[in-house]
């Protein structure tokens, strides 16, 4: 590393060499995050199809394989799907606004990938260790909605526009509940830095993680996350039975796949955030010998996979919500609960130390 830095300084001079070196290292980090993420997205679609298939007593994709190896049957499916999507023509409808039509998928995937910049994967491994990490993530995820709205409007189709409006209203309302749940987390950890939030959950076991003192917030965050990513049972934005496929009904080929990639990488992002904020991130469930030997990164991956399994399970289990029920759940149930919990948490934190020590079984405050 130092040697490469010296080479940069020699070639480009002292001032520019350092700048270009940091640019080059950051680009390397970005690729190191984005490429595994996109692979993860590809295999998440495969996992989804397989898991839902088994839940419905089917087999799922079981044909495409690598080099004819029989026990890898089905594992080539995501690659085959990607190749198919790249080959297909991107049809632009006649009445569509061409520029915005092409811009919409780009605007969807951009924030979905940009939010990953501040995610810590282990105590040291983080691309941008900024103080306001949590706020940054909120800001980035709230920008994802533009792609959906613009796609709906630019397609010049009633179904697409209806889907976009549903999605926009839903995402804006659930963002509030999500933000309030995150306020509780930052009150507990007294920091907006994701690494500090995980370190604040350090203790002897999984009892120290924030999912116990903030249990309602944990559930609300998870459910709002499902709603934010427009996944079943909150997928009225797509609602095949009513508005065909919602905002991306006129998209084909790679343009459609980019929406798909954004949706799945947002799913992985929500799962990662849930495991970082409520399930102790890279901390092992019990601070003892066999568990501490496994590296923290593996624990984080296991937790992400656990939460993602819930996403798939929800989709296989629940019927789609009706639109007014979604709005009622967001505004009339989640937001009041989060507001009450914020006040309650503030009261507990303001109690004198001696009084907090008298709580039975207290390890959090």
């Amino acid at each position: 590393m130092e040697y490469i830095q010296q080479q940069f300084v020699q070639i480009f001079g002292t001032e520019w060499g350092a700048m270009l070196f940091s640019l080059a290292t950051n680009m390397t980090f970005i690729f190191a995050i984005v490429i595994p993420l996109l692979l993860g997205v590809a295999y998440l679609t495969f996992a989804e199809r397989k898991i839902i298939a088994y839940m419905q007593i089917r087999v799922g994709p079981n044909r495409v394989t690598f080099f004819g190896i029989p026990w890898l049957r089905g594992w080539g499916q995501p690659i085959a799907d990607a190749v198919k999507a790249i080959m297909k023509e991107i049809v632009i409808p006649t009445g569509a606004n061409k520029f915005l039509f092409i811009l919409a998928p780009v605007l969807t995937i951009m924030p979905a990938l940009a939010a990953w910049a501040v995610i810590p994967f282990s105590p040291e491994l983080v691309l941008a260790d900024i103080n306001a990490g949590l706020l940054y993530i909120l800001a980035m995820t709230s920008m994802g909605i533009y792609g959906v709205i613009i796609a709906g409007w630019a397609s010049n189709s009633k179904y697409a526009f209806l889907g976009a409006m549903r999605s926009a209203a839903q995402v804006v309302s659930y963002e509030l509940a999500m933000g309030f749940a995150l306020v509780c987390v930052l009150m507990m950890s007294q920091s907006l830095n994701l690494g500090d939030i995980v370190n604040g959950q350090q203790g002897n076991s999984l009892m120290n993680w924030y999912w116990i003192p903030l249990f309602p917030m944990f559930l609300i965050y998870l459910i709002s996350g499902v709603a934010e990513t427009n996944r079943a049972p909150f997928d009225v934005a797509e609602g095949e039975s009513e508005i065909v496929a919602g905002f991306h009904v006129d998209y084909s080929g790679m343009a459609f796949t980019v929406f798909f990639l954004a949706e799945y990488s947002n799913m992985i992002l929500v799962a990662t955030l849930t495991s970082l904020l409520f399930l102790g991130g890279w901390l092992p469930p019990v601070d003892m010998a066999p568990f501490t030997l496994i590296p923290g990164f593996i624990w984080l991956l296991l937790k992400i996979a656990f939460i993602l399994f819930f996403f798939l399970w929800f989709r296989a289990t629940f019927p789609r919500y009706r639109y007014d029920q979604i709005m009622r759940l967001g505004w009339k149930i989640f937001i009041p609960i989060t507001l009450v919990w914020i006040v309650l948490l503030g009261l507990i934190m303001q109690l004198p130390e001696s009084m907090r020590d008298t709580f039975p079984l207290n390890i959090w405050f």
Partner: protein, 201 residues
């Protein structure tokens, strides 16, 4: 010119261009989207000024929420440009006065020497671990607590007023009430009747 200056000029150029686009674009949807771009580049400029909390909040509040609703409304409007132009000369003096005030303000900043700008020295750059958010929170809840509470109450009043002005209860409308629907239990709707099975002849 170093790296930061280059970034500043790029952001500033995009900001000026997009702000000009907001008022010149013919399509209102383009105007709204260019305003979004202006907000984002403005947030970038604030990041260069080490105001990361304000920059992220700008994106979160204006880009993430306010402009989404704006775009929502603009997309559904069928705007007639001729009708809008009619009012142009009526409002022109008003706009011109505001523009003049802004020009004067910018002139005062640019010609700071004549207005005693050197009495306000440029702030020192802060260390990397300096938390903007924490400092802002401390000031809001200690020194400026009354101003902050007043602003909060003002917003609350505006919100309540907006709801009170637009909320109408219509009696002739038939819509389901989800709360009541969710509360329904099996016993409310169906009655299980025990029927002895009939005997075969």
């Amino acid at each position: 010119m170093n790296f930061q200056d280059i970034i500043f000029y790029i952001f500033a150029a995009i900001l000026v261009a997009s702000a000009l686009g907001v008022i010149t674009a013919r399509n209102p949807v383009y105007s709204a989207l260019l305003l979004v771009l202006a907000f984002v580049t403005c947030a970038g400029l604030w990041l260069l000024l080490e105001a990361e909390f304000l920059a992220i909040t700008l994106v979160l509040v204006y880009v993430g929420a306010v402009m989404v609703l704006f775009l929502f409304v603009v997309m559904m409007l069928d705007i007639n440009l001729d009708q809008l132009r009619e009012g142009f000369w009526r409002w022109f003096p008003f706009g011109a006065i505001i523009a003049l005030v802004m020009v004067a303000e910018i002139a005062m900043v640019l010609m700071g020497k004549h207005f005693g700008l050197e009495e306000m020295p440029t702030p020192e750059p802060q260390a990397a671990d300096y938390s903007n958010t924490k400092e802002l929170g401390r000031l809001i809840y200690t020194e400026y607590v009354y101003a902050f509470e007043l602003a909060a109450v003002l917003l609350l009043v505006a919100m309540v007023a907006a709801i009170a002005l637009t909320l109408r209860h219509r009696e002739d409308k038939k819509s389901p009430n989800p709360s009541r629907q969710v509360k329904v239990r099996k016993e409310d709707r169906i009655r299980v009747v025990a029927m002895p099975s009939e005997k075969k002849e």
